[in-house]
Amino acid sequence: MLVSVRISSALAAFAVALTTATAALADAPERVVSINLCTDQLGLLLAAPGQLVSVSRLAHDPDSSAMAEAARALPTNGSRAEEVYLLNPDLVLAGTFTDPATVQMLRGLGIRVELFAPATALSDVRDRLAQMGAALGQQDEAARMIADFDAALNDLGDAPATRPRAAIYYVNSYTSGDRTLAGDILRMAGFDNVATEAGLSDGGTLPLEQLVMLAPDVIVTGRDYPGQARAEDVLGHPALRALQDTAVAGSLTDQDWICGTPAVLNAVREMRALRLHLEAAG
């Protein structure tokens, strides 16, 4: 009895020592369903083939998803409990802002639900990758991806001689401050955010008049949505073009800016290129 226990524990220790990956895969979830745009992309990056069985509907929308191409191989779900339950998952990936009723319902049905907080800084990308790696049993892959991300971010982190003042301006006069992912992208790319001067470090409504008076060097406007809405009119207001020393860079905040995935590197590169372009233009 004692011997057999010893042998089995020794075997177990041997197995773990031999390959942690195999051990991890042994209790890794086999049918994973993602119901949030950002967990869709993290899941697509890290899941083993066949492990992720469904993504949310937005994942297929190239305007919102940085991985729409990769997502197209998987069927979508409408993020509701009933639909997700029928997919028979052993793990559901959701955001902390996913409808709590959906999460409660799924947990009540005995399904494991892993919640991911939205990223509010570039450094959050590392944490989300690590969290997703752990949830999917892909720790090694996640560690490799984090190292790549750190290296790429490091390459982009040159200190510019002058930091131009920029404003991010979305529909409904909304702006992103320093303590947001978009604000951190801007900071990393070598800009100062005028939202901070206006006391909006977390982001908020910046009236058009106030934006004009701040007279930033560049105004980065949000993406253009299909169809028409009055909320978007403010982005085309003649006052923005009437400012003499302000460049208006349109429709830059796209799918790369939304989620805390390595795609944010593209956003940083794009903004950095804009800064270098502005410097060259004088």
Partner: protein, 326 residues
């Protein structure tokens, strides 16, 4: 004439007040320099491109609504007739939303006011048809409720079907109206239609005065009623349609203003026309200053403020005229 001078002075003071109100405190001197200096400073941009068109639109829209209200009340001889309440503004909003969401307005700028005008004509025609020549209160109000409800529902439907994620939030704007962040584009878009509408409505004065004696007497005095009606329909639709196309449906202006001014003009409809145009301009200017002073960073809708003032008055008027209700 003293009333005219008083109202003009009031409009001028409120116009200046409108130019000086906003999220940034600006002194009158600075504002004046920025307004006429055109030196390209941020303040000049704020004054010339943001505040000036906003104040101008408040005057134009207020005048349109006040004038239309006075004209409709004169023609129907009923103090409850008002473009917002009887569904003309709501229908115009539907026309504007249709032009925007079908993409017509993007390919052809005038499609926006034209479409609003078209739907406003339909609404005025329906009202006149349903309310009859005397404009009995009960039919007028019931027809107005039905047209407003239908136009509002269709506006909501169109906006909910839009692929734009922000379109549904626009429902509040189209139902309540706002002048936030409007520009000179909107001034030039609305002004030609309003000028035509004002001219048509201003020409109604003599006919409306004659109508106070009854239709037969008016006809005996040489007033041609079909022509009067046509001018009223087109004039109201043009001015209210253009106003709604750029600022959404702002209710109660055409109800409150003629009611307040009627005693000062001796109940003469012709005098009430110009007085209500000036009064309407003053009222919308004042309301637009108030929404910016109450919530500087939020877009409080003009219609909310107007309804808070107008609805109690509306109830009072219904109470007063209830004797004619069955």
């Amino acid at each position: 004439m003293r009333l005219a001078a008083l109202l003009l002075a009031l409009v001028a003071v409120l116009f200046a007040g409108s130019l000086l109100s906003g999220p940034l405190p600006v002194s009158a001197g600075q504002a004046l320099v920025a307004l006429f200096g055109n030196d390209g400073t941020p303040l000049a941009v704020v004054m010339r491109e943001i505040r000036l068109p906003r104040a101008l639109l408040a005057v134009m829209i207020g005048a349109s609504l006040g004038l239309s209200g006075a004209a409709m009340q004169g023609f129907l001889r009923n103090p409850l007739a008002e473009p917002g309440l009887i569904g003309v503004s709501g229908a115009a909003a539907l026309g504007a939303v249709l032009a925007l969401q079908t993409g017509l307005a993007a390919s052809f700028a005038l499609a926006l006011p034209l479409s609003a005008l078209g739907m406003a004509v339909v609404a005025v025609l329906l009202i006149l048809m349903l309310a009859g020549p005397r404009g009995a209160s009960i039919t007028l109000i019931l027809a107005g409720i039905a047209i407003s409800a239908l136009a509002g529902a269709l506006t909501s439907l169109v906006l909910n079907l839009s692929p734009n994620p922000f379109a549904a939030a626009d429902i509040v704007f189209w139902m309540m109206g706002s002048l936030a962040d409007r520009s000179f584009t909107h001034v030039w878009l609305a002004l030609p239609f309003m000028l035509v509408g004002w001219a048509l409505l201003a020409g109604l004065g003599r006919g409306l005065d004659a109508l106070t004696l009854g239709e037969d007497a008016a006809q005996a005095m040489g007033v041609r009623l079909p022509r009067l009606r046509l001018a009223l329909i087109l004039g109201t639709a043009a001015s209210v349609g253009a106003a709604t196309a750029v600022a959404g449906a702002i209710g109660f202006v055409g109800l409150v203003v003629p009611h307040l001014l009627r005693p000062f003009v001796g109940g003469r409809p012709s005098a009430l026309l110009w007085a209500s145009a000036l009064g309407g301009a003053a009222m919308v200017l004042a309301a637009d200053i108030a929404v910016r002073e109450i919530f500087p960073t939020r877009d409080l809708k003009l219609g909310v403020l107007m309804a808070l003032v107008g609805a109690p008055l509306f109830l009072h008027l219904i109470y007063k005229t209830r004797k004619e209700l069955p």
